[in-house]
């Protein structure tokens, strides 16, 4: 009890919105800068980590960090307006103030996969944790092998950053496959389940890693497809979502078996997560 400990007062940093982009009718990106210039300069994070964003008088939400870790001017967050806090954040614009605590959790194993192919699988609306990895890899293209981007959405209209997918598809050694359960006029990609696309993915299963986020049912199906293609469990990673309130493994809401998703995750190896993901309620 008398050993030295880091004192954790837990209060957020004050931050200012420096830019706001509307990505879709409900999704927006806030670029934030910490008001304390020294804190902003010292801020470091790894892709896959998250911040707690605080809306004055309302509360906090965990939001994955979207910007590049080497960007020093601001910290990007792509948010869907859904609940009390996120709907309030959606109303903010440049100059407005928020609170920020973070970064928290364990990010993607990007150092470990240097030189290998990377398969990114996302489902649902704008999966920020994985899109941040795409940006990260494209900025450091020489450090990675092939990049395979597989994105599934329910409806064609749900796909955000559509022009980015077009742009990525034209890059060398980059394969983009998008599927919508329900198509729409001028939908250039696949109509059907995203898992129907895995057979077309070109990567070296001997040196590849998969990073996934999205609905857990979709990820379970994707894992089956990836394992059939020869990817071992040890190289399958997923980012999990649970109710998070403290972000430091204390409040208990995000517990997933013995793991605190906020602290031990949100990125897990499939082998760590799989036994409990099979049971609804964890």
């Amino acid at each position: 009890m008398n050993a030295p400990h880091a004192i954790d007062s837990g209060a957020p940093h004050a931050a200012t919105v420096v830019a706001r982009t509307q990505e879709s009718p409900t999704i927006f990106t806030l670029q934030l800068r910490l008001d304390d210039a020294a804190a902003q300069a010292a801020y470091r994070f790894a892709p896959g980590q998250f911040n707690m964003l605080y809306l004055y008088g309302v509360g906090e939400v965990p939001i994955s960090i979207m910007s590049d870790p080497e960007e020093r001017d601001g910290i990007g967050h792509t948010i869907r307006a859904l609940g009390r806090v996120t709907q309030g954040l959606a109303a903010l614009g440049p100059g407005d103030r928020v609170g920020l605590r973070g970064p928290f959790g364990r990010g993607w194993p990007l150092q470990e996969v240097s030189g290998c192919d990377v398969v990114l699988v996302t489902g649902g609306l704008g999966c920020a944790p994985v899109v941040s990895v795409i940006h990260y890899i494209l900025k450091r293209r020489e450090r990675f092998g092939k990049l395979v981007i597989i994105q599934g959405v329910k409806h064609a209209d749900d796909l955000i950053w559509r022009e980015q997918y077009d742009r990525w598809a034209k890059l060398p050694d980059t394969q983009v496959m998008v599927a919508a359960d329900e198509g729409a006029a001028f939908w250039p990609w696949h109509v059907g389940r995203v898992t129907e696309l895995f057979g077309l993915a070109r990567f070296d299963p001997g040196c590849a890693v998969a990073m996934m986020c999205g609905p857990e049912g979709m990820m379970r199906a994707a894992v089956g497809s990836l394992q059939a293609l020869g990817l071992p469990e040890s190289r399958l990673f997923l980012s999990m979502e649970r109710n998070m309130q403290c972000a430091v493994g204390r409040c208990g809401h995000c517990q997933f078996g013995g793991a605190f998703v906020c602290r031990d995750g949100p990125v897990f190896n499939w082998g760590e997560a799989q036994p409990l993901l099979a049971h609804r309620g964890y």
């Binding site: 954790d8 004055y56 403290c246 309620g281």
Partner: protein, 373 residues
């Protein structure tokens, strides 16, 4: 056994107030048993002789009634609905506050409680075991919770050996009682003529020395030992004396979860009285003038609707999954987090469950035919 004959003193029953007086003189706010709303709770003592005598409570599944100890002892009661958890992990407190100026700029400041030094008199072995678990959670290396630490660091713990366990008690089977073995400043064993006293810390030793106690006789020490052994033997409930992690985690789809879910009201009483449950919600309370807001934490329960809430869906939408979360956390995955079970055998969740669900019974039903004790 923890009672060491070399350092045990004897405090005659009439001199118990001198211990309280000593602690008060040292500046401690002294808390001891008191009756409130028909149950025994810890409340501030307003005088050295304010400790009540003869308190006792009969407990059974879904049952707690105050009774009178025929021997009129000070500590013949087993436990009340809440032990000492509120003294360290406050039921509701501010973590930080934020002020907003006319331009909208925010200024955040931590709110660190100015906790009084408190002496808790009548702490049980189960409470001490639970406190050690809460310490491991809130004072984790590298993430010390300052709110918890402020109160914890100023506690003086006067433990008491349980001589009369309740029918709901099973601390002997979890290895946590009924005789306190560690984590106290002073510990008492109540005999008819007085108390066998022992110090467990430097702070405790200083008070022990100041009391100028005569040495406890070998007969008194032996009587205290036997009393502890008898209290252990008197317990009728038990949990299996082994790590239940694998047994429970391999039965996540057992039909017993549906059975218990049909009896469970998801009221959260068990988590509110549990001395090791640590879940808490965080919520903002803005001031009416709009200029400031407090960010608070409030005890929460995994039985509540909001505990597993995630935008758009609930991880645990039904009582079956919530009861299963509680029991498998407490008895199974707790081992992954803290290297032991989260149950200290106090039996509060049994007594205070409005439908009398007994976790020892649920465990027995879930693990029937599994292993051998």
């Amino acid at each position: 056994m923890p009672i060491r004959s070399d350092r045990a003193g004897f405090l005659p029953v009439a001199q118990l107030p001198s211990l309280v007086a000593r602690l008060m003189a040292l500046g401690y706010q002294c808390l001891g048993p008191a009756v409130e709303n028909g149950a025994i709770v810890m409340r501030e003592l307003d005088a050295p002789d304010a400790l009540p005598r003869g308190l006792q409570a009969a407990q059974a599944p879904g049952h707690y009634r105050l009774t009178q100890d025929p021997q009129n002892r000070y500590f013949a009661w087993a436990n009340g609905p809440q032990a000492i958890k509120p003294q360290t992990f406050a039921p509701q407190e501010s973590l930080w506050r934020v002020a907003r100026d006319a331009e909208g700029a925010l200024q955040f400041a931590a709110v660190i409680p100015d906790a009084p030094a408190q002496a808790l008199i009548g702490v049980r072995a189960c409470d001490l075991a639970a406190l050690a678990i809460q310490d491991a959670h809130f004072l984790r290396e590298g993430r010390r919770d300052e709110h918890y630490a402020q109160r914890r660091d100023r506690l003086f713990l006067v433990a008491v050996q349980c001589a009369e366990p309740a029918a709901t008690c099973f601390c002997a089977s979890t290895g946590d009682g009924p005789t306190p073995s560690a984590g106290y400043d002073l510990t008492l064993a109540e005999l008819a003529e007085g108390f066998v006293v022992e110090a467990g810390s430097d702070k405790g030793a200083a008070v022990f020395d100041a009391l100028n106690l005569s040495a406890a006789t070998p007969q008194q020490i032996d009587a205290a030992r036997q009393q502890g052994q008898a209290a252990a033997a008197a317990q009728t409930r038990s949990l299996p004396d082994r790590n239940l992690r694998d047994a429970l985690m391999s039965r996540l789809e057992h039909p017993r979860w549906d059975d218990v879910a049909a009896r469970c009201l998801a009221c959260g009483n068990c988590t509110a009285v549990c001395p090791t449950c640590f879940c808490h919600a965080e919520a903002d309370t803005p001031a009416l003038d709009g200029r400031t807001s407090r960010h608070e934490r409030i005890w929460d329960s995994c039985f509540g609707e909001s505990h597993g809430h995630l935008h758009g869906f609930n991880v645990r939408p039904d009582i079956r999954s919530r009861y299963r979360q509680w029991l498998t956390h407490k008895l199974a995955t707790w081992h992954d987090q803290f290297g032991r079970s989260g149950c200290v055998g106090c039996g509060r969740c049994i007594a205070w469950c409005p439908t009398g669900i007994d976790l020892t019974e649920e465990v027995a039903a879930l693990t029937v035919g599994e292993g051998t004790p």
